[in-house]
Symmetry: C2
Subunit: 180 residues, 2 copies
């Protein structure tokens, strides 16, 4: 870690801290940060030494990053160790991270709400409770649908859409009437 440029160090440390807020663990996030800034792929041993964590921990963390598809194995001719690198396109990377988070943070709730809505139709329940469950279910369905649309777009289009900013809104006449 001492060998790294201070900016790189700071980035890795910060990424690790933020990782815990993003639902990952610190080491997983640090490894990701290190690979993102590394000019060349690294092997498990190197990662372990640079970050000062055990090799077993590195192994587990790399497996997790691979399972999400943000890190992949590459090989160097004449070396039989596995080397790792992250995908390089940031937008692509966060698209993957977003889909992972949706799977963990939205989908289970959506499933529960759908089954609740079904049950509510057939069993008697306080009117207000019914209303609120239906309302929140509708909300999750809307978000899910919007996400699916977005997800199907090529990354380049998402990039353009996000960068368009409020031009989007004006074009659609959604702003301006009540406009804040």
């Amino acid at each position: 870690m001492k060998d790294l440029h201070p900016i790189v160090q700071r980035f890795i440390l910060h990424w690790g801290e933020m990782g815990t807020r993003w639902g990952l663990n610190r080491t997983v996030a640090q490894i990701h940060a290190l690979l993102y800034l590394s000019p060349k792929p690294l092997n498990a041993e190197e990662i372990s030494e640079i970050l000062g964590v055990s090799r077993s921990n590195v192994s587990t963390s790399l497996k997790e990053l691979q399972s999400w598809g943000v890190v992949r194995v590459v090989h160097i001719p004449g070396d039989r160790r596995d080397y790792y690198e992250t995908i390089s396109d940031v937008w692509e990377m966060f698209k993957i991270i977003l889909s992972e988070r949706k799977r963990r943070e939205l989908d289970p709730t959506l499933a529960l709400l759908r089954s609740s809505v079904t049950e509510i139709e057939e069993s008697p329940i306080d009117k207000r409770v019914k209303e609120r469950v239906l309302e929140i279910a509708d909300f999750f369905e809307s978000i899910d649908a919007a996400y699916e649309k977005l997800h199907k777009m090529p990354t380049s289009a998402i990039r353009r859409l996000v960068k368009l900013g409020d031009k989007v809104l004006r074009a659609l006449g959604l702003t301006g009437s009540k406009g804040a």
Copy 2:
């Protein structure tokens, strides 16, 4: 908890579990769920009994929910205890939750990246590292800008925008050329 309708019970338990994935703690999320489905405001004692958690824990959790602005205190004539209720509009509620998450999950990183970009301009650093830091900084800036635009819209407009779905994209000609 036993007195509650099974659907309500299931919702509260689920919300608690999901809360942990959303970066809240279980009790905070459960209290929120309970208040969301409760036909009337509840006081700390009632919440404590219904959920089977200590009153001090309820107190701390309510304070946290209030600090985010999703729960507020109301009073019942002739009763000097504090009663609590959530805001009722789901969209408004998640707008608040989203802004809280942005503050905790994006803003610190944005700050770090901004200062890193400044430093990079003046100190010599590996070209590839520089590129990647600039790229990720640009990404965060874009997301931040898009968020700000969205946040300034009235909730009703956000609701319409999300519900429009891919009509938005077609209208803007962002889909169709490469369209997936």
